[in-house]
């Protein structure tokens, strides 16, 4: 198999047009289709669809930090937490329980500095991302509805905090289809299972084609992708024989779009076998690129590998790419000691900044929306004045957006002086989702799917596009 040509922006139009077939092994495919008659129209759930209105963003790279990143240690500077550390305060809810709780403000572990021309303050937890401050729109007024990981993780992915619903990636795939039929439209790269498991990328009631395909870094990143026959030639023999049987079967049964679709799915699968391993083959990436992401050559470990693969997926027209940095354990859930944030930050910081710079230098930040988020923040206070950890905090937390359609170098929303509540411009989950869909050219109220007697939306019956985030 010839390897995939290096990225060339002008090729993307071509990639888009190859939806009906594969550009791989043309000779083989010609052979397959030698006696092909014009095909009947096939219901293709992944056919590219026009957005509701023109939009810059053609794809999403969704970076999810699992466990709850502390906002007051990263993107939300709170000088009073430094100057009034140890001060006693009262809160009426703590770890999901209502009541009157005596709490103490805890000093952040990382200092804040203004960065770039925008002067956005970012802490020393993320020194590399901080350098990209002029490309980011930091949201300091995110709100979640639940204090548990499971529900909050489900909520930020599906808009629903209890019941499984389609993932935002599935909604985007459903709304816009795929630009590359050799690859799934929604790909998730995760080294471990997150909270709420595969419900996080499930299509739920949306057609199965929109389900996220899980890529686990390692030998077989996609299930059944490795050819098991001794040679490619042998597999071609098999495929040719299947094709012959299926064509004969179809010929006796007039037009049946499902039979036809299945016939084509083998061809796509064959293409995927070549394209997917090539996708994960980073040997042609330059040393400079490796350095940019902080990736050791040959390594498939860490967020750097995930980010570089994400760029390659973006190049190949995958619609929604989600990277999860960790799983449901060994993550940002630093209850006992905030210093645990340090190594987790080092895993993602340089990689994410490398991704942003790489996308920018290739002109891809123009039409790629990059989202960085977590399920909730962490309490600016704790039960003792010298407590080293922080608990779950869903009343306010921070995320950022960058790229296509996003107002760069800005900060949206504000928390109160201690980072406990939203002070200005709250961004509840449905608003966040409505805005992401808007950036993709979709009206969240029109992106619906009829199921069990009603039209479902990602944003349920709520959601307002946050205009202040838009460029």
């Amino acid at each position: 198999m010839k390897s995939h040509p290096a990225y060339d922006p002008s090729r993307r139009g071509f990639l888009r047009s190859m939806a009906a077939g594969s550009i791989l092994s043309p000779a083989f495919l010609q052979q397959l289709f030698a006696s092909d008659t014009p095909r009947s129209p096939v219901i293709d759930p992944l056919a590219p669809k026009a957005p509701h209105f023109p939009a810059k963003a053609k794809r999403v790279i969704f970076l999810f930090m699992s466990g709850g990143v502390s906002h007051v240690d990263s993107w939300d500077p709170k000088p009073k937490l430094f100057s009034q550390a140890g001060k006693e305060i009262r809160v009426d809810e703590y770890q999901g329980r209502k009541g009157d709780f005596k709490m103490f403000l805890n000093r952040p572990n990382w200092e804040f500095q203004p960065h770039g021309q925008s002067g956005t303050e970012v802490s020393s937890l993320f020194p590399h991302m901080a350098e990209c401050a002029d490309d980011l729109c930091v949201i300091r007024s995110m709100q979640s509805n639940h204090t548990n990981h499971y529900e909050a993780t489900l909520g930020i992915h599906t808009g629903s905090f209890t019941f499984a619903r389609p993932s935002i990636g599935s909604w985007v795939s459903y709304g816009l289809g795929s630009e590359n039929h050799n690859l799934p439209s929604f790909i998730v790269i995760a080294p471990a299972t997150p909270y709420a498991g595969n419900q996080v990328w499930a299509s739920d009631f949306l057609p199965g084609a929109h389900q996220g395909t899980l890529v686990v870094p390692g030998a077989e990143p996609v299930a059944n992708i490795r050819r098991r026959t001794d040679t490619s030639h042998l597999q071609e023999l098999e495929l040719r024989a299947i094709r012959k049987m299926n064509r004969r079967h179809l010929a006796n049964r007039a037009h049946d779009p499902l039979l036809d679709a299945r016939l084509r799915s083998f061809e796509t699968a064959f293409g995927m076998q070549a394209e997917v391993p090539e996708l994960f083959d980073l040997s042609h990436e330059t040393d400079a690129t490796h350095r940019l992401y902080g990736l050791e050559r040959g390594s498939t470990k860490g967020f750097a590998w995930q980010c570089l693969v994400a760029r390659r997926l973006a190049e190949r027209g995958v619609r929604f790419i989600e990277l999860i940095d960790s799983g449901s354990s060994n993550n940002w859930d630093s209850h006992s000691d905030m210093s645990a944030h340090g190594p987790l930050a080092r895993n993602v910081d340089r990689a994410v900044s490398g991704l942003l710079r790489d996308l920018k230098s290739r002109g891809m930040l123009e039409d790629t929306l990059v989202v960085w988020t977590t399920e909730f923040g962490r309490t600016p206070f704790n039960s003792t004045a010298d407590h080293k950890g922080r608990e779950h905090h869903h009343w306010v937390f921070s995320s950022w957006l960058a790229g296509a359609g996003v107002r760069p170098g800005t900060v949206y929303g504000e928390s109160d002086p201690y980072g406990i509540q939203v002070a200005r411009d709250p961004v509840p989950m449905h608003d966040f989702h409505a805005t992401l869909l808007h950036l993709m050219g979709m009206d969240h109220e029109r992106l619906t799917y009829h199921h069990t007697g009603r039209d479902y939306r990602l944003t349920d019956v709520a959601g307002n596009v946050v205009r202040g985030i838009l460029a």
Partner: protein, 966 residues
């Protein structure tokens, strides 16, 4: 015991709070719809709510075509649109269709041969009856029901706890289909089987209790699922509505249903029925242990087995980490509150509710053994406490006229004299004590009605055992009090008792605002039961411990040590007098005897240790399953009406709503004086032949699974938002026949399968007339793809790898090792070669194979399977280890069964496609095998023939012909 914040005792138990509603979005939409729906006029009666008619089959022009009554309804419609029905299917296609349809498996070559060789008109009936009689029938049709009731082997809470005994319900469903259990009985058992079981006969007890798994498998939520029990009840009602009634009742949770005549009052009328029901508890992150499973034998038969199990633990001095409790499930000994059992010290978990500074400690373990032989913890209320309260509803509800109560307690030694007292009381309703026990720092009193009398004074620091007998018939309550220093000496007291119904609530509390602080109190072993109590004792009854292997190992080891010491001493002066031959012999003999004693002792120790290991294994197994077989079912709780939850928010209670069933379906409030939860009455409403939905919904499902689409194309929604039936008269005809046949599902199969409609050819002969593209006409049979289960089972069948014995439980890790959490949830895939219906199905992690091929969603009722076609499915056929292993097996089977390539090809075609290969296919197959063999990297090495044959069978299995049914 289920905590219902919106229930009648809300005021009394105001500290039981469910967390704030967690679905604001969903609530909002319902609220919105509710407001939008206000003021809309009552709709005229929707078709589905009208009585089921018995329409005559219509006249048709082509009178020769119809074979059963069904055909006239179908043909009349086809003719009215100027169309023709397709010709009859060819016999091979028909056989393959009916085999998959009834059993989910391809026909065997033998079945094909028999059927084709039998030209008689009864040939089809014969094969149909043999398929209906085969166990594979229930495995296929049971699966359809399991789809609708969203069956799973795990609970669905954030840690997705396994339910090791859920499989019993799964097998109950399969068996019910195999035995053609009348559908009305099937429903009655699933909704009220525990109540029916008690009515006899004894032989059906286990089966009926198991059937209530239908309710128990309702989804659990959150990391402490008992806090979200209102969502579980909501899930029960949603699924009941969708599966049985074809209605989405969920909308009425927050407001009167906008489209269908279901009011919020009626929703909470149903809600009350399930709130009065006690669901088995699967364990959760917060409370790791399983509780309240339903025993498959009646309680009176079990008591001794439970007591014996406890005795064995006590005798072995083992610490049971997870003793299952199913008998008198009060948790009156607080053992599941112990940290080692998943409890959280200082926080009482359900069934208890509490507030105030109490703790679960080993210090509060009572020495009395008359109620519970085994235990390590009790509950302590520290001295100086102002107020506290712990309480629970008594469930299952007591019946009978005598109630016995046990309480062990002691007042702390260092308690200053105080007039404040603890109150232990029972009553039928909250805040209304019938009998009170008052415990002060130095005395204990009993109060009944207006009378209060001192029972006796208390020794500080001394444990006491209190036993009450509340005799409703004689209107008397007796108290017996014994102390640990003289357990046989009892103080007795009796008072008049006024009690109309058995106590429903049990409370221990103390203090009034402003009063003095309380004396310290330890309590343990609370029991409430109808059967008599054993008198106070500090030792386990000898009869129970007898026959138990006592732990002799320490003594034996001690003896061994002594003997070994003796031996080393006798060796030390190892120089016997040189001239004393006799002594030497004696010494040698003594040494020999010592040696043999040592080795005998070692053998004993080994043997007894092995016995103990076996015993421990056995006990560990019993920890997981109990000393009796248990089912994941429901039992009766405390009957009460629920309060309406305004906008569906449990924290926003409205008026109390009497329990009952939907008026539009012939229901109403429960009759006055209904004793139980109301589930039994509910089944009567649901299975009444006058209920317009129950029969219609089920016949539609059966039609749907035969034809790929329902007459109502929204099988879970017969309401206004659903599709109207394409053939309303036929639907009513089928429903009427169904009820007339005694709700026999197999009779309905026969009616349908014998029809010309079912036996038509599938659409699209290449050169045939162009037929109406409207599949609703049933002018031809609709081709369908194999379901995920059929696909896997068929591959296993043709390869010879299918294990056709029924599945039972799954190899879950032992319950004692469970500590699943949202951080490390339960997650497993257990493979086997049994039919796919027996695969372990997790609720929140989909099975990878079933998910790939559009299996049921175990999270929610799946009325019909989708058919998606994605390249990852093709990759499964090309590269999956499963397909490669099975085709290798298939190849070996062909090699063993036939000697020539020609015969092997022929057999492979027969097995997979139920037909011989055509001549061109045969030639191509030979050519394929040759090309493949020569293409192998090292021809001659390994088994090139088998390898090529395996590839050939992959081609057959990958073909559309194998995957679809004409």
């Amino acid at each position: 015991m289920h905590l219902q914040p919106a229930s009648s005792d809300r005021k009394a138990l105001a500290f039981i709070r469910s967390p704030s509603p967690i679905l604001p979005g969903l609530l909002a939409i319902w609220l919105f719809l509710g407001l939008a729906g206000l003021g809309s006029t009552p709709p005229e009666l929707h078709w589905a709510f009208q009585p089921i008619g018995n329409p005559m089959p219509p006249e048709v022009r082509n009178g020769a075509w119809p074979r059963t009554s069904i055909d006239r309804f179908i043909l009349a419609r086809i003719e009215s649109e100027g169309q023709l029905p397709a010709p009859a299917a060819d016999r091979r296609a028909l056989l393959r269709r009916v085999c998959f349809d009834l059993t989910g498996l391809p026909p065997t070559p033998g079945q094909v041969e028999t059927f084709l060789a039998d030209p008689s008109p009864q040939a089809f009936d014969r094969i149909m009856e043999s398929l209906l009689d085969s166990p594979a029938y229930g495995e296929r049709w049971g699966r359809h029901w399991l789809d609708v009731v969203r069956y799973a082997d795990t609970a669905g809470d954030t840690a997705d706890y396994p339910i090791p005994v859920a499989w019993r319900y799964r097998n109950y469903v399969i068996d019910a289909f195999n035995h053609d259990k009348p559908y009305d009985e099937f429903l009655r058992e699933q909704i009220a089987g525990d109540i029916l079981a008690k009515q006899g006969p004894r032989t059906q007890y286990a089966e009926r209790v198991t059937a209530t798994g239908y309710l128990a498998i309702s989804r659990r939520f959150g990391f402490d699922s008992e806090n979200y029990h209102h969502l579980t009840i909501q899930d029960t009602i949603d699924t009941l509505g969708q599966s049985v009634l074809g209605l989405s009742l969920g909308c009425a949770r927050c407001h009167n249903h906008k489209y269908d005549p279901v009011s919020a009052e009626e929703y909470y009328g149903l809600y009350g029925i399930f709130a009065s029901t006690r669901y088995a508890f699967p364990g959760s992150e917060q409370k790791a242990r399983v509780r309240a499973l339903a025993p498959l034998d009646p309680n009176p038969e079990l008591k001794s087995r439970w007591t014996n199990l406890e005795a064995r633990f006590a005798a072995l001095k083992l610490t049971p980490g997870a003793v299952l409790r199913s008998l008198e499930d009060l948790d009156g000994d607080f053992e599941i509150q112990h940290v080692a059992s998943g409890g959280s010290n200082g926080v009482l978990v359900p069934p208890w509710i509490y507030n105030g500074p109490i703790s679960v400690t080993t210090q509060a373990q009572s020495p009395f053994k008359n109620l519970h032989l085994f235990g390590i913890v009790g509950v302590s209320v520290p001295s100086g406490t102002h107020t506290y309260r712990m309480a629970q509803r008594i469930a299952p509800a007591l019946t009978g006229h005598t109630t016995r109560v046990n309480l062990d307690f002691r007042v702390s030694t260092n308690t200053p004299s105080t007039r404040a007292h603890h109150r232990f009381w029972l009553g039928a309703i909250p805040e209304s004590p019938t009998v009170e026990i008052l415990i002060s720092s130095d005395s204990v009193w009993m109060k009944s009605g207006e009378q209060t009398q001192r029972i006796r004074s208390l020794g500080p620091g001394l444990w006491h055992n209190l036993q009450l007998t509340m005799d409703q018939t004689n209107g008397t309550v007796w108290a017996k009090l014994a102390s640990a220093d003289a357990p046989a000496r009892e103080c007795r007291l009796s008072l008049p008792l006024r009690l109309e119904s058995p106590p429903g609530i049990l409370v221990l509390e103390g203090g009034d605002p402003g009063s003095e602080t309380l004396p310290g109190l330890d309590i343990d072993n609370i029991g409430v039961q109808p059967s008599p109590l054993t008198p106070a004792t500090l030792s386990a009854p000898p009869a129970l411990v007898a026959g138990m292997p006592q732990t002799q190992i320490p003594e034996l080891k001690h003896t061994l040590k002594q003997l070994e010491a003796l031996r080393s001493e006798s060796h030390a002066p190892a120089q016997p007098p040189p001239d004393s031959g006799a002594t030497r012999t004696e010494a040698a003999a003594a040494a020999d005897s010592l040696e043999s004693r040592i080795s005998a002792l070692k053998a004993d120790i080994e043997r007894i240790s092995a016995q103990e290991d076996l015993l421990k294994q056995d006990l560990n197994a019993q920890l997981a399953t109990g000393p009796v077989d248990l089912a994941y079912g429901v039992t009766e709780g405390t009957p009460h009406s629920a309060r309406l939850q305004v906008r569906g928010e449990p924290d926003n209670p409205g008026p109390e709503v009497p329990r009952g069933f939907l008026k539009v379906l012939g229901g109403g409030p429960l009759p006055a004086g209904t004793a139980g939860s109301g589930r039994l009455e509910l089944t009567q409403w649901i299975t009444s032949p006058q209920n317009p939905l129950t029969a219609r919904v089920m016949v539609n499902r059966i039609w749907q699974h035969h034809f790929g689409r329902g007459l109502v194309k929204t099988p879970n929604d017969f309401g206004k938002r659903g599709d109207p039936p394409t053939h309303p008269d036929l639907l009513d005809h089928l429903a009427t026949r169904f009820i007339q046949s005694g709700w026999s599902i197999k009779s309905l199969h026969r009616l349908i399968l014998r029809s010309a409609t079912y036996q038509m050819a599938s659409s699209g002969e290449p050169d045939g007339p162009v037929r109406s593209p409207n599949p609703d006409l049933y002018a031809s049979f609709e081709r369908r793809r194999l379901t995920a289960e059929e696909l896997r089972d068929s591959i296993l069948r043709v390869s010879g790898g299918l294990d056709e014995t029924p599945g039972r439980g799954h190899p879950f890790p032992p319950a004692t090792s469970w500590s699943y959490s949202q951080h490390v949830p339960f997650s497993a895939v257990y493979d086997h070669s049994k039919r796919s219906v027996y695969l372990m199905t997790q609720r929140i992690q989909r099975h990878p194979f079933l998910a790939l091929f559009d299996g049921a969603d175990p999270n929610t009722s799946t009325p019909d399977r989708r058919t998606t076609t994605v390249p990852t499915q093709a990759l499964f056929f090309l590269n999956s280890p499963f397909v490669h292993a099975q085709t290798q097996r298939f190849a070996n089977r062909l090699m063993e069964g036939c000697t020539t390539p020609d015969r092997r090809i022929e057999l492979a075609y027969h097995l997979t496609l139920a037909r011989p290969p055509s001549e061109p296919e045969r030639t191509e197959a030979i050519a394929f095998l040759r090309a493949y063999q020569s293409g192998l990297p090292r021809p001659g090495a390994g088994q090139p023939e088998a390898t090529a044959l395996a590839a050939f069978t992959r081609v057959l299995i990958g073909s559309n012909e194998f995957l679809s049914i004409d």
